[in-house]
């Protein structure tokens, strides 16, 4: 049974990797996938913009990659398991990227996790969220 898309979109700060996002982000994610090979990491580091010409990306997708706009990449179809390969190429961890996406410094994010993580309270539903 197909579940209502709106139910998933109502979860705050969450971008379910569904068919729409998979289609939109295919080339962005496959660019990230290419960074699994060390020769490609080398070529990308040597000239990022030129390397990106190998992939039919939208202007916005190129921008998010070149500016390392980690949340922006997710919004244009990036999936975290792929974008984290760009992170790995930069020597950045999942934790670093997660902090950036939620608008926190590395220290703030680490402190939140050590303190038990982000609470589920008030984080279940956009429509029921109180400021």
């Amino acid at each position: 049974m197909l579940q209502d898309k709106a139910e998933f979109e109502d979860i705050p700060g969450t971008y379910l990797f569904n068919s729409d996002r998979s289609r939109e982000g295919y080339h962005l994610n496959m660019f990230c996938m290419s960074l699994s090979k060390s020769e490609n990491r080398k070529a990308f580091r040597a000239d990022e913009a030129r390397y990106l010409d190998r992939f039919p990306l939208t202007e916005e997708q190129r921008r998010t990659i070149l500016e390392r706009d980690w949340l922006g990449m997710i919004k244009v179809g990036g999936n975290i398991y792929y974008t984290s390969k760009l992170g790995a190429t930069d020597g950045k961890s999942f934790q670093y990227i997660a902090g950036k996406m939620s608008g926190m410094t590395g220290e703030e994010y680490l402190a939140m996790m050590v303190g038990g993580g982000r609470s589920i309270e008030n984080n279940r539903s956009k429509s029921e969220q109180v400021d």
Binding site: Q3, S22, C32, I74, Q95, M101, G103, G117, R118
Partner: protein, 278 residues
């Protein structure tokens, strides 16, 4: 006859692998987590299974968006550790068990689980971190491993109920394999965590505790959990826990819990471990 003697569930956080590989397990941040796995390692050494069937998900390493198998089974002689962007982990090559793996493939497909059969497959942290946590850092892994890889990245993953039913079919397949083998099934991933978006870092320990409680005592409740509940309550990546239900399905109804452990944080994740004997 082969038999399933136990199930293990554990998280498979990549940073745990890095902490082991970089010798950080005694650091304050990591120490409580690794201490929690000491009894599990002891149990694993004492139990000494002949084969592990390890249910995990690939994280864009063996597979990508090019091909997205819902259930895949590795039938190769061996599986090399994958390069996940920072070079392969320096852990032993994983030895397979082609005879049992092919027997499982045939039996599962004839039972209408349409497995993708894989002859060449690098294995990423989803498979090697659980082995490190349960077996430590040996020169060679203590037994052959059959990888069963589940798509949980592209929505929708298989339902919890389907995963549970797959587990039951795995049990029937194992029990129809002639050689006398003791088999342990691992379900991996989870527990609550979210790696992306503004809600990254979400943890829900109450939900995790209920899941741990019901995994042994009331799997009927867990089989029926819809995807929306995993994503909303346990975080977008918490949906990996459907893979724990493959393990549970492979055990008998009155299997009993012998160990559990839960620790926050392991990087972004509520790290959970449970051992259930058949």
């Amino acid at each position: 006859m082969a038999r399933i003697i136990a199930g293990v569930a554990t998280s498979h956080v990549p940073a745990i692998g890095a902490a082991i590989d970089l010798g950080k397990t005694e650091e304050d941040y990591w120490k409580p987590l690794f201490a929690g796995y000491e009894p599990s390692k002891k149990w694993m050494a004492e139990t000494d299974p002949d084969v592990v069937i390890l249910v995990y998900n690939d994280h864009a390493n063996a597979f990508s968006l090019e091909i997205i198998p819902t259930f895949a089974i590795g039938v190769a002689d061996s599986f090399p550790p994958a390069d996940e962007g920072w070079g392969p982990r320096k852990v032993p090559v994983v030895q397979g068990h082609p005879e049992l793996a092919w027997h499982l493939s045939e039996s599962l497909i004839l039972e209408e689980f349409d497995m993708t059969v894989v002859n060449e497959m690098p294995v990423d942290h989803g498979l090697t971190v659980p082995l490190s946590l349960m077996c430590g850092e040996p020169e060679e892994w203590p037994c052959p491993v059959i990888p069963i890889c589940v798509n949980v990245i592209q929505y929708p993953p298989p339902t919890g109920n389907r995963c549970y039913e797959l587990g039951r079919a795995i049990r029937r397949a194992v029990e129809s394999f002639e050689p006398d083998l003791n088999v342990v099934v691992f379900g991996t991933g989870g527990m609550s965590h979210q790696l992306h978006g503004e809600r990254a870092g979400l943890i829900n320990r109450e939900w995790d505790q209920r899941f741990l409680d019901d995994l042994t005592a009331n799997p009927e409740r867990l089989r029926k959990l819809p995807h929306i509940e995993y994503v909303r309550e346990a975080g977008s990546e918490g949906i990996e826990m459907v893979m724990w239900l493959v393990m549970r399905g492979a055990l008998s109804e009155n299997a009993r819990e012998v160990y559990r452990f839960n620790h926050v944080p392991g990087s972004n994740t509520s790290v959970g471990n449970i051992i259930i004997e058949d």
